[in-house]
Symmetry: C2
Subunit: 204 residues, 2 copies
């Protein structure tokens, strides 16, 4: 059975990055997605492992040919998710989690309705603020900006299918895994088996 | 958090009864549903444990007052699922599984959209036939009837949200449990938490 394409969104400070790394580390049935970018490789970065490094022309051609799940511009560089790489992992039966903000998530879901949308949130906004302040690297202004953004993002939570409350990391990792496991038994993902059973019954 | 109301259907011979007993036995987070009936108690049967034994008048009053999840007539006796009992279990946080045929399942889903519909099937119809024959208690005619019924039921599988293939019982029990666990994280079941987060954000 093919793996499941999962789009994970959530407030900045919800711990999405850590959650993703733990899932990839703890479970064999998940695979990384390698992004494509036009920015230059930093020292030690390996093409095809950290990113697929391409020229601006190549990236724009890839967009034009519909070969990206989504893309965005950041600091004058393109970043995107190549479909070919992700699809090959899905075909191997691995589930692939993309960490994408709300608007991109909605676009992917519209084009690929089988995508699983999961929203990651801290147990409360007070806790989110505490986490952002604890980092010690962000000004009060930046934190205020993040909270304003969270306010906007929170309007979209209902559009996600699942919510993972990242209070205790171990619990959140397990919950995320449980959610993905259960998807395999959705009738909409078992079409081939259902057809087989129905056809077999026709022969009786 | 409230438990989840689960309606389980499936072909006769799929092993629903065994699956249900194992779930109730292996996991604390499930509860039995006690049916109401107008038939007389058999020796050893306890009112409120095996069934709620009531008169025909009492049963019809219960129907009229909308206090049953579903009901059916079998051999001139009524059988039904009392809402009060099931709801009290759900409030305790226990999930309740009802073993109900396709038409009843559709009726419950229409009235209570949060009901989880799970279809249980053997790995193939050949295997279903083998199991029915192995029982040794059923005539070729009865088996043929069950297969004809399965043909009818199989048209409804797509209306179920999940499918559990009961090949190895231990695996099926675990899959069923995984499915129910994951439901708790559906955004549609986390409305209170989502509202809290949204309200908290408004205060920033």
């Amino acid at each position: 059975m093919d793996g499941i394409l999962i789009v994970m969104s959530g407030f900045s400070g919800a711990g999405k990055g850590t959650l993703l790394h733990r899932l990839l580390n703890d479970y064999d049935d998940f695979a990384f997605s390698v992004s494509m970018t036009t920015r230059s490789p930093r020292e030690g970065e390996v093409d095809g492992k950290d990113y697929f490094f391409v020229t601006k022309e190549k990236f724009e051609e890839t967009i034009k040919n519909g070969l990206l799940y989504e893309h965005a511009t950041y600091c004058d560089n393109y970043y995107g998710t190549p479909r070919e790489y992700v699809d090959s992992k899905l075909k191997e039966g691995k589930s692939v989690i993309l960490d994408i903000e709300v608007q991109g998530a909605m676009q992917i879901k519209e084009k690929f309705p089988d995508t699983l949308l999961v929203f990651v949130t801290p147990p409360s906004i007070a806790e989110l603020k505490r986490r952002l302040e604890k980092r010690g690297t962000e000004s009060a202004e930046t934190i205020a900006k993040r909270i304003t953004r969270a306010k906007e993002e929170s309007k979209w939570i209902d559009r996600y299918e699942y919510i993972v409350i990242n209070d205790d990391l171990d619990t959140a990792v397990k919950e995320m895994h449980d959610i993905v496991l259960a998807q395999r038994f959705q009738t909409k993902r078992c079409g081939t088996f259902i057809k087989e059973i129905q056809n077999e019954l026709l022969s009786f």
